[in-house]
Subunit: 565 residues, 2 copies
Amino acid sequence: MRLSQFHLATVKEVPADAEVISHKLMLRAGMIRKLASGLYTWAPLGLRVLRKVEAAVREEMLRAGAIEMLMPSVQPRELWEETGRWEKFGGQLLKIKDRKEQEFCYGPTHEEVITDFARNELKSYKQLPLNFFQIQTKFRDEIRPRFGVMRAREFLMKDAYSFHVTPESLGETYKVMYDAYSRIFTRLGLEFRAVDADTGAIGGSASHEFQVIADSGEDAIAYSDASPYAANIEKAEALAPSIERPSPSAELARVATPTQRTIEEVTALLGVPAAHTVKTILVRGREGLVALCVRGDHEVNEVKASHLPELPDESELASEDEILAATGTRPGFIGPVGLPANIPVIVDRSAAVLADFVCGGNQDGTHYTGTNWGRDAQISRVADIRKVVEGDPSPDGRGTIRFARGIEVGHIFQLGQKYAEAMGAGVLDDQGKMRTMYMGCYGIGVSRIVAAAIEQRHDDAGIVWPEAMAPWRVAVCVINPKNDPVVTEAAESLYQSLSQEGIDTVLDDRGLRPGPMFADMELIGIPHRVVVSARGLESGTFEYRARNETEARNVTREELFGLLG
Amino acid sequence: MRLSQFHLATVKEVPADAEVISHKLMLRAGMIRKLASGLYTWAPLGLRVLRKVEAAVREEMLRAGAIEMLMPSVQPRELWEETGRWEKFGGQLLKIKDRKEQEFCYGPTHEEVITDFARNELKSYKQLPLNFFQIQTKFRDEIRPRFGVMRAREFLMKDAYSFHVTPESLGETYKVMYDAYSRIFTRLGLEFRAVDADTGAIGGSASHEFQVIADSGEDAIAYSDASPYAANIEKAEALAPSIERPSPSAELARVATPTQRTIEEVTALLGVPAAHTVKTILVRGREGLVALCVRGDHEVNEVKASHLPELPDESELASEDEILAATGTRPGFIGPVGLPANIPVIVDRSAAVLADFVCGGNQDGTHYTGTNWGRDAQISRVADIRKVVEGDPSPDGRGTIRFARGIEVGHIFQLGQKYAEAMGAGVLDDQGKMRTMYMGCYGIGVSRIVAAAIEQRHDDAGIVWPEAMAPWRVAVCVINPKNDPVVTEAAESLYQSLSQEGIDTVLDDRGLRPGPMFADMELIGIPHRVVVSARGLESGTFEYRARNETEARNVTREELFGLLG
């Protein structure tokens, strides 16, 4: 492409409503333009990137045996009534009435339509498994669209839906999709993690989020530094320490901590490390209060605690009055020693292996030292109820937990029979019996990937595209203030040669001065810049600079092709 | 592609609501499935064809220098208010209210959005000309959706919009688009005509429709059998005959035609050819009645007549009472001889060169023979006011007019300044003066092309795809009732070899009997069928049949690759 025949429109000003760096850079680079709240035009430069992502996604989906189709974006209300989602989906569902007052929505997702297709098309187990996908514009009427295409209302999505006779078959395709997603983000050149995710309201038995790592990400991830393990921080398992609990060696002793209520204050006073203390919080259980004990340097994980049989799904902290009534003590001095017998004591795995530890005295202004489980305090249950911390061993036994922030760009689910059941989608099995199908669904936010990549890869000068996503891999810049035909011809010849080698190249023949020209190429993130100038031609070299290097260097034509080939 | 890993779902029954052959065949072949009125899912087989059309369109647009972008499908009401089309567009505009009660539409076309983009992006004449295009899903809320994807509500369209400082520049890009469209339909293998079209309500100075020729088409076309000339029949010019009018050789004589009112009756009675008679009709002009005279074998063209200065834009026939009052004669006996002087006589070019002709006697029950212009009847104006007929010379001077029916699949317009004016889209010219831009717009109905191709190319067995549109070019069919591994391997090997040659091939490994298998391949229109069977392998041949041939023949492997290469 010759830039003089393209429409590149970079701008210096950053619009006031752009909050995140990807939004700012996409506007400044002229990749997108806002039409209305949450609605963006993909200008030519942006579309080049979007199409590269789309092509990579399509290629890997086909390679994984998925079959492409295309469903309407406009969907009839009746189907959504069958699954109850016409109401349940909430305000994000953009509802439409046509000229005959029939009700439709602009599809935010296609479970209903594909399940309707499947129940009409699929008759026999012999046709299964099948995995259909489409790449299509979707609409979610976000209450607060923001961050440009990161959370736009209209967006491009790849959605896939698989159909199975057995959960085992679903599990196999799920694994195939997991691998395909990993290949997609790898080939796009993105640092990412496949995160074990809570399926939440969607239901089903397994789910992974694919998160692009970026400091600005909304999601907190715990991952292993030596394996593919990753999980939402809330869901990451804290392993039981591999040590046995030491035998008691100290006597239980009550010490005065008149004003020391926090772990920091108590450890400072007593000169013990926080890891040698136990903190106790009281929450409302299904039948009265429940005590949760974790090490002083750990935090209770409410998501994990909510899975305890003693607690309801959404448990709340006990109030100061409740605590006082149950224990006669104020918060800050609660501990497991001598608690009333009707309060179960749930102890985190790490706290359960402590001996001779410090804990609250169950009497205002006091703590115990030399506390030991069994001898001084009873354990009702040991469980994983704490948040993981950096440095914890990875739950898969390989490496150490680190934290990162991520942007969700893909999500795979085992839906099970939820939709097939609601909509009556079955096939005959080998006994001639009707069987409700099992389903998986697999989404990728194609347009969101573009923004997420920028969040991960940028510097002060602009975007730093990975090669696979760049609008062009190489920019040939012409410095030719005197309109020297030799320089023009050399640049043209280099551009032609690179293009003929299949190297996606842009020729910047706009006639700009070097400063603005280089600034543009850096802003739009072209991985390789080659400068053709009269001086370079004299010495038989081109000036080359990689976008992620700070220095330019002179290279011969052969060296250049070697670098780019 | 192996069919066992695809989802091919042909059906025998034709749904009752399918009226046209393309709709029937697309349903039977399993290319599309209906979701709701005017909303169709593109099943995997259909999408393969749609994507091939899309790719051809994109490639030729890029080759023609157009720049791809992508605008939102959902558009804000405010923009449509600026051009007045929020109301004027009518019921086809699907209006939407979002959760904040803001009004939008699902874009049926994008003049407003692109003009808004251009007025924000373009500042200087130096940036022009520019031609932007997108390939995108559109929605028109048809009052009566029908014919499957031919007139669906949701459809895939390529729309392009060009911007210019001068009408000359617009004319140049218009020509480039005309040529690009011609290349697109040529490479898709379709018989088509670029038809000079009345721009009608859209305005502007030039417009061509690209029509795929098919007997079932809604539009009537006149075209030359020896040049690219084509026009809507209503618009095709009838040239003036190249002969001079002969001198009179007969006397004017009134003859009795007591019951003969029609040309057929009069010519039968008098034994003269219809081409030697003149028929006269009286219409309401701007100031009283006007007589229109055409040859007896011709018909008045109301569109052309409406352009006469004597007639209003929508002229009507005079009533019997008006005719009687003005001439004292009943319809059927009106002629140009002795008409009242206040009735102008407009004579078609072909009628104006007749001598010694027959015409109405302006007296009930009589006609004249031997009539001559000038001597017996006065001509107020000679004009082209008749419909062309097959056999007329082509208006471009090359070849003879033929008639055909067509399906509109593309339309290019010179919009002029209509939208740019309404929305204030201008650039600075070389004098620093603000100039309203000129615009062109260029549409192709991508999904409609698929249906139009089937209307043009089908037979009793099904679809007959041109090579460029076929879901696969070649089908390798395996006849292997005994599951002979040699046959299986030979078929697999042939499939692999063809695919490696870049020949888009499908392997029918579903294990069907030959009858249903061949019927499927014919129904879905695969251009080349190759049969691998034990008997063929024994003789070292494959059975080959082209979809558009009636006989199969045995060919060697080398011959086969020669045929398909």
